[in-house]
Amino acid sequence: MWWSNLFTDMSPASFFNFSFLPKYGVFFIQGIEYTLMLAVVSVLLAVIPALMLALMRLSKNKLIHAISGAYIALFRSTPLLVQLSIIYFGLFGVINIPRYSLFGFVDISRFIPGVVALALNSSAYVAEIFRAGILAVDKGQTEASRSLGLSAWQTMRLVVLPQAIKNVLPALANEIITMVKESSICSTLGMAELMFGAKAVASSTYITLAPYTLAALIYFCINYPASKGIEAIERRMRRGDKA
């Protein structure tokens, strides 16, 4: 084919020496899939605990308030790589997950610890998103609902949360984008996501730079359009609002 000799004259250190593609392209395809699974699954798993943390944070009970505050502070003030290592070697050193491959390339004995660590980390951030979303709902909404005789919990469930969740959907989508990027850290523990694929290709082909250029391009092509899309949705939502 016309392109089979395209890269032969390029140096191994060239930015665009993509000569590995025909043989190793599959690493990147699987890497994208692995990365997206990590990001989406961990944020979805984070939603329920984050909601609980946010409600706890808004509770008048001092102990409940403090527990949630401590969790959020702990996960926001330590590096994700450290959290990941502690969860991987500590928690999942005790809990044994059988080696089993999903779709032929997702080894669950690594994927599950990764998802758990990302979800625990993400829930601290998403909790703050929810808390802000709940506080942003007009106080008059709560008062109207309580004045009709509904309990605090019924008011939260039927009046405040539906409005809060609608308000935070864009922020939640942004959290997925953050996770697409942050999950590259999982490569250090052998999870075969995009960054891991790039590293593997670099070390087996001695093409030192281009696999990372390609990974950067792929990350960008996922995240940039996604964030632009979220912005557009956000704008439209703001226009349709105001009761």
Binding site: Q141, E143, S145, S147, L148, L150
Partner: protein, 248 residues
């Protein structure tokens, strides 16, 4: 006339903020009889809204008693949610639920609290919407409605609970002038039907025409109460005189 039983009896109602530094209400007494329409007037910051919001405990009184149907709502062991069902409230800013249709706004509370089946609640909502001439808005969302329509729907949302008293917190203050009339008409209608009403208002014409008794409040205290004719034409307290000279 005065054989009507008391529905609300307020005794020495006091509300302080900031650990007692700000006194919003100071030892106020008031009795509202069943079927009575009471208007509360006074300058802004006088505590009239706070007073009204204490009646259904949206504000927690610092001390004093609020007897509603003989039960002291200020007693912490009382389940306030049960009593709020019987006390409808209408707010200055309507506070319709923007994520729910008009029908859902009206039926949410009675259905959630299992006071009515969904079918019963819907029938009642239709009847109420018919009454205010907005049956075609039943499936609209609040942001499609005018201010006057929103406030009238907020009123029937409260009525759908079949309350024993309706509390109005400056219901026309946020409305464009041309929409004040339609809301006052509905309130006048309610009064005629014998609803017990406590109305915080700046509409002196409405207070004079519809209220049986007008309360004047200033700096956290009820300073004067009388029939509208007496209070508006022969105010006794100098502060009432000063206030009325400015607004009438």
């Amino acid at each position: 006339m005065e054989t009507r039983p008391d529905l609300i009896r307020v005794e020495k109602l006091t509300k302080k903020y900031n650990h007692g530094q700000v006194v919003a209400l100071h030892e106020n007494d008031l009795t509202v009889k069943r079927g009575e329409v009471v208007a509360i007037i006074g300058p802004s910051g006088s505590g009239k809204s706070t007073f009204l919001r204490c009646l259904n405990l949206l504000e927690k009184p610092t001390s004093g008693h609020i007897y509603f149907d003989g039960v002291d709502l200020a007693d912490r062991s009382v389940d306030i949610n049960l009593h709020r069902r019987k006390m409808g409230m209408v707010f200055q800013h309507f506070n319709l639920f923007p994520h729910k249709t008009v029908l859902q706004n009206i039926t949410m509370a009675p259905v959630t609290l299992k006071l009515k089946t969904p079918a019963e609640a819907e029938a009642k909502a239709k009847q109420l919407l018919e009454r205010i001439g907005l049956p075609d808005k039943i499936n609209e969302y609040p942001n499609m409605l005018s201010g006057g329509q929103k406030q009238r729907i907020a009123i029937i949302r409260a009525l759908a609970m079949e309350p024993e008293v309706m509390l109005f917190d400056e219901p026309t203050s946020a409305l464009d002038p041309e929409m004040v009339g339609e809301v006052l008409d509905l309130m006048r209608d309610l009064a005629k039907d014998g609803m017990t009403m406590v109305v915080v208002t700046h509409e002196m014409g409405f207070a004079r025409e519809v209220a049986e008794r007008v309360i004047f409040m200033d700096s956290g205290s009820i300073l004067e109460e009388n029939t509208p004719a007496e209070l508006f034409d022969h105010p006794q307290n100098p502060r009432t005189q000063l206030f009325l000279s400015k607004v009438l």
